[in-house]
Amino acid sequence: MITDIRLYCLFQRVKNWKTILFVVLAISCGIAVAVYRIASIESSKAFFTNSSWMGSRALAHGEDKLVTAQVTVFALFALPSKEAIYLFARRDEQKKMLNSENDYTITGNVNQISAKYWSTTVYGKDLYLVPNADDRYSFNNSTLKTDSEGNFTITLSHNKKGVNWLPTPDHAGFNVVLRIYKGERDFLSKLETTSLPVIKRATK
């Protein structure tokens, strides 16, 4: 009987539209804050930055709920960091957002990255591969063309350019991912400070 009265009182309260609006507004704000926090990977304490690149050693370890959510959204089914490190670039070295209105170069030396396998891949803003007639999406440490000293330049452009050309989308923002598999311990321990390939805006 007492339970029935309580339920009735609760029902009467819920019938109050102001209460409903209050709760809906609070829930909506909560979801908006959560979405904003998940999207803000650049300001996350769990991510380090090195020039244009950002990455996390906690990637896919499930130790931090926010990082776990960010990894699931931005790199679903990623490998743990002891297996692979994923470095994302959304900006050039001047910290300006990558956009295919411009061309870019990624310059470096193959010996900069001590790992079993590493690759550089272009993704659209939707985090999927960019469709192109050449079926060309990435370069890795085996396919990259270098000079005799191991130096390389990758050109990021919507139009075919240079030896190591990676197509970018048509008039849109894009991302570059540097994957490092089975990196050497010394190299990985200095990932925040070591010299990594540089993404520079190029003149068209």
């Binding site: 979801i31 959560a34 979405v35 089914f77 297996e83 079926d135 990435s138 890795n140 994957r179």
Partner: protein
């Protein structure tokens, strides 16, 4: 005045609680969506073709890999996972994910195991030779590195060797 302060406090508490719960629920939610979008039934293997711009099931696919995946459910049976790793230095791995898409075990061909593998995945405790799944549902993902077209034929053969079979839990 007190009522207003109470309402503001209640609002803040609800916002904080909802954002915490939402962030915590995102991995499970995304795994559930991936499960719905999977091309094969549970406890069967799906071998994907060459990775290109047409692959839009999972974000950030690596075009240097070919993938095979199995979404599993161990609530009724264990799963016997068999296959072969390359005996070359061509990277290949099997990664096990829980129902929040978080990895808990990775085996690759560079760890010194025999090239042929047989892993019994179970949600119940067993003494030995069994990998205890972190959750009853999850995913096994096989990655094979293909850095030039000459490796594709052997990669496809290895991909096809990856098989799963349901076995009774008390077997």
């Amino acid at each position: 005045m007190m009522t207003l302060i109470k309402r503001v406090l209640l609002f803040v508490v609800i916002v904080l609680a909802v954002q915490y719960l939402f962030i915590a629920a995102v991995p499970s939610l995304i795994f559930a969506i991936a499960k719905v979008r999977k091309p094969q039934p549970m406890n069967t293997v799906y071998h994907a073709g060459k990775t290109d711009a047409g692959m839009r099931k999972v974000v950030l696919p690596n075009p240097d890999f070919i993938y095979s995946a199995c979404f599993f459910d161990l609530s009724k049976n264990d799963l016997l996972i068999t296959g072969e790793f390359p005996d070359t230095s061509q990277y290949c791995s099997l990664a096990f994910y829980d129902d929040k898409a978080q990895p808990y075990y990775v085996r690759n061909n560079l760890q010194g195991f025999k090239s042929k593998y047989s892993i019994r995945l179970s949600s119940v405790n067993r003494v030995q030779r069994t990998l205890r799944a972190k959750t009853k549902q999850g995913t096994v993902l096989m990655r094979i590195l293909v850095t030039d077209s000459a490796q594709m034929a052997s990669a496809k053969r290895l991909q096809q060797s990856f098989k799963v079979k349901e076995v009774p839990q008390n077997d």
